[in-house]
Symmetry: C3
Subunit: 508 residues, 3 copies
Amino acid sequence: MPAARLVLDAAYAVAPVPRRLFGSFVEHLGRCVYTGIYEPDHPSADTDGLRTDVLELTRELGPTVVRYPGGNFVSNYRWEDGIGPRDQRPTRLDLAWHSIETNQFGLHDFLSWTKKIGTEPMMAVNLGTRGLQEACDLIEYANHPGGTAWSDRRIANGAADPFGVKLWCLGNEMDGPWQVGHKTATEYGRLANETGKAMRLVDGDIELVACGSSNSSMPTFGAWESEVLEHCYDTVDYISLHAYYEEQGDDALSFLASAVNMDRFIESVVATADAVRARLGRKKRINLSFDEWNVWYQQRFSGDGPQPAGIPWEKHPRLIEDDYTVTDAVVVGTLLNSLLRHGDRVTVACQAQLVNVIGLLRSEPGGEAWKQTIAYPFEQVRRLARGQILQVVGASDLFDSAAYTDVPLVDATATYDTESGRAALFVANRSLTETARLEVDLRGIGGTSVLAATTLHAGAGQDRHATNAVQHDAVVPVRFDDHTVRDGRLTARLPALSWTVLELHTSR
Amino acid sequence: MPAARLVLDAAYAVAPVPRRLFGSFVEHLGRCVYTGIYEPDHPSADTDGLRTDVLELTRELGPTVVRYPGGNFVSNYRWEDGIGPRDQRPTRLDLAWHSIETNQFGLHDFLSWTKKIGTEPMMAVNLGTRGLQEACDLIEYANHPGGTAWSDRRIANGAADPFGVKLWCLGNEMDGPWQVGHKTATEYGRLANETGKAMRLVDGDIELVACGSSNSSMPTFGAWESEVLEHCYDTVDYISLHAYYEEQGDDALSFLASAVNMDRFIESVVATADAVRARLGRKKRINLSFDEWNVWYQQRFSGDGPQPAGIPWEKHPRLIEDDYTVTDAVVVGTLLNSLLRHGDRVTVACQAQLVNVIGLLRSEPGGEAWKQTIAYPFEQVRRLARGQILQVVGASDLFDSAAYTDVPLVDATATYDTESGRAALFVANRSLTETARLEVDLRGIGGTSVLAATTLHAGAGQDRHATNAVQHDAVVPVRFDDHTVRDGRLTARLPALSWTVLELHTSR
Amino acid sequence: MPAARLVLDAAYAVAPVPRRLFGSFVEHLGRCVYTGIYEPDHPSADTDGLRTDVLELTRELGPTVVRYPGGNFVSNYRWEDGIGPRDQRPTRLDLAWHSIETNQFGLHDFLSWTKKIGTEPMMAVNLGTRGLQEACDLIEYANHPGGTAWSDRRIANGAADPFGVKLWCLGNEMDGPWQVGHKTATEYGRLANETGKAMRLVDGDIELVACGSSNSSMPTFGAWESEVLEHCYDTVDYISLHAYYEEQGDDALSFLASAVNMDRFIESVVATADAVRARLGRKKRINLSFDEWNVWYQQRFSGDGPQPAGIPWEKHPRLIEDDYTVTDAVVVGTLLNSLLRHGDRVTVACQAQLVNVIGLLRSEPGGEAWKQTIAYPFEQVRRLARGQILQVVGASDLFDSAAYTDVPLVDATATYDTESGRAALFVANRSLTETARLEVDLRGIGGTSVLAATTLHAGAGQDRHATNAVQHDAVVPVRFDDHTVRDGRLTARLPALSWTVLELHTSR
């Protein structure tokens, strides 16, 4: 039986768990907004047109921050189209997703929604078709208390108090040739720097995210981050990372090893940012905003580049509505582990996206809403990762896949909260077929007992491709009992292809 | 007697005659639009304010495509100034031509006119003072069926159906320091690429023309095309060429050899585009849009650069209203030959301009309209060049001028239409004084007879500087009989300084 | 007793005194506009809301040109906010000075004010957040006679005649990272060139100033001027210089030597501009516009960069209201001398600023207005420098300070007006403690007598830090009698730390 022997020690903390690590993303794309979070005709809709069924599920997920309104969408978005009386808002072509945008949902609507959810908004400004002036106008509209033309217009539109949005993205994926108003690193670095400086003059309290590479396979990866940061190092707080993973062909093992790629990606961007820091002789560090990540079966969708003539323009078409499997949930667990492991530098992260579009949740127009398989690890880690992230040392048995070598079969992270004495252990068994033995030396935590444990796995008679598409509770975490604690040592037998969460209580 | 011995063979076809090779150009410049095609107070004006006398002459010319609204004009034009009720359109300074622009003629007006003529519109977007957003707004206004703010505005302005404009120029002569908002090759290449990509997202069906050099004597010629195409190769379909020719001093022979320069210019741009293709490893070829060409006596006009203080601003002043001579008509014939010879790559061409401004036609405010000498070769080649362009081989006697060596005294092109069995032969005799003997071996066409033939020349007792300015039919093609066909061999005696067109019928 | 022996000769003229050398500056900054020149509620206000007490003092100062509306302010200014009915003008955030801008004072208001003062306006266009189009719109609005949308709007707003503003700055301090929409030299050089060319197409009669370095200590100084001028040499008439001086710690001697720095700065920019001229092979020379200069105690103010969160946004807050001393007045005298000495190339200069903000004048809201110490040398030189600037040769005793070596103890300039036979001599004694003996050989001017003479100095029992803050006439020039003319030789005894002005009459 394959095995992993790990050590936890409360003295070896990486960093506090970043509050904003468990974010999600709402883009005007497909049915994320329309018939996702917003559907005034839905039986469950509240007076704001929000679906209360989706609201309720979102509150359970509890994303700590939600990015909006894009994504590629933002690069051809005129934010003021989405304010004021709904019947006077213009209908536009959204060039990013070849869709008709009615603007029935906009800035006020989103920020009301974040309040109902109890989450923090993270907004993006359009640096594709627009620039400095419109970004400043937006932040003045959103955040200035009142007494100016823009802020008084916000008040007239019903929001007496400033929204106080703190976290702002300077555009989206500006390195990607598919982006409307794509920029070179020089163009973007300069624009981001001047726009960011001016935005800070409007509101000195904001935090700014510069666009990093759209993914680590971009031909400009590394060079892009380096040049962009040289232009705007003093102006920004974060550099962004985006990554999507999928199973290529039947290569499940490489897919299960995706977090190895994410680890490397993060560490490469940290190195790049710190190299610029050294070169410029700065004290400040740039942190990482991993503001798009997920499993996404991109081969099923080709949305980039010009649409072939004749594809009709529709309002909120069904786009990239992936049905997630047990396997995907285990991978998402390991991606959360990767983010958590790097919580000293990755201090913002947004799973993409909340509803329908590669969504944690799914909702049918006029119909039901439910959680996909990947919602469970997200919700668990968001709820249980508390206090300090612990450095997990020790060794797991390794395997090789077509794309990676020396992949730990068991992938684990842990957190420990001194105040409550609670610890949490998040463990994936990447073996498709074998149960794995887990031994954890708790020497640095002290007398410990297991409070609760669950596992999410295919289970007997089930397929690793099982989803919640038809039976919405087909794949959920189940109680996990195959563990003992003796002499300060936890032993457990992790089912094949499983995501297991253990809550520990220490007597210290 | 100087002579030329040519061979025609239907098997040696260059390419089909490009439909768009016989275009013209309507710019808001001088009296091309106002008192040219549009003059509501004219006795002949229809209910749209169009001069029906000019309409009728234009239909006879039959330009297959018409470029609009500029030219230098477009680089400071706000297209939406020209839509909506006429009494609400703003009056502007046109900085390109130091004129007052009333905007009484605009997008809808032009496109109605093209329908009445039965021609295809070729529009240009302003990349001088504007950029991506306004270009997308325009194409959405013009081409999107409806249901968006911009397209609904077009419908409200009376055009229920989309205009479906296919052919779009990405700015005009952006390499020229005189251009409002002149760009470097880097600046323009980037802007053209991003604008073009976004325009295609609005309408996936369009074709795009990137600006090449304003003429082949620009100091950046070649380097400009190369860098611009490196930036936007995948986005555009055409690169543009502009050329104007005139008689310098009394050097008539060099002027008559202008097509040698045009041939070289075209071949240089083909080479440049194909070199970029090789460098980028692309399969697609970039074609050539020779979208401004003509005889133009530029020494009579100095419109570039800042106007001396005190020159008054006028509405549609008389600007560059060249009176064309017999000599000019022969040169225009050879320029048409040059374009036709390169019809495999030059697949769009626009004579500049249609009326008054270096015009095929002239019209007087409140008065008459007539064809200039150069209108005749244009109309003939447009009407008779059908089917395939034939490769004309053989040899003409040569001459040297001050500017060129080894210039063929007789310049000829031919087309052949398999379906109808018709061929056409377009021949210039560049000698100022001597009749030239033409022998054409028709071996590859078969039993042939001459259906009709005309020649345009100074004629007995006439001056090579004769124009149609006073007597509007002073210079017209006349019946040409000095030809025989025997044993598959055509023999003709071409008058000195003449443009001769022969229509052949083959029995094959 | 330290001494200076000088020679004046009317034959050795540098240049005519440039009319525009005695300019000032009104920026929307602090209380320069609001409660400075404009305060409708003030007891002295006229029907335009202008303070007549400040108007009267300004007329006495007689600035020959006044720059407006910024300064840093202009780089986020939308000029059309300041036109039309006052109650419809939008209130804006001014990002440059963290202030609320009500726009109650704007273009028309400023230009009415210049008429009342009898001075020439010098306007700046916004090249921070805006570009070519808005600059052209402004100049069309301001200077085009009528008959276009923009010029007719000016007429509707009450100005039937065009304003005819001749002198235009292409942005402000675009090299400074603090500037909203800061540009690199390449970015700015290109923008300035294209904007300037287009502005000239709107009005061929204007003169244009390109931004030089914000000060001679900028890391890009020299390189900036060089690259910018390479881009826009043919388009502009002037390159700008800005300099502010202050006493660092107690180093009064270095402060008193500030004009040495100004001399060097001017000569460096002349050399740089002329080197570009040589490189480009141009005949035209670029002149210098020293359009911000003064004493400014910048260590008392830190306005650059983002404001710390929480600093309130106020309307016309009290900002940089320096109280000027006797010492400052002597330094300002020497700075005027430096400008005058270089009047062959420095042909525009603007003291910064007119009222309250590092002001010649001060005014209290609802209260009094008065002249600061530095107003006196400004007013004297403006009034008395007439005719030709003379080359002053000879030698002064020298001193070394912490920052400079070989500084002339006595700093002098002179002008001579052939027509009236009047000469003027402007002399500073930089010694803090010693009277200086001045001998001037008037051989080249002829039989001369002293018409009038004044000196401004601390005086007996007074402190060199004395100001006019409390007693508004505490520091004024007083009659100066300690001089004789004998045998064509003027002898005078200049008080320690003094600014002395002698008006001479010649019998020639």
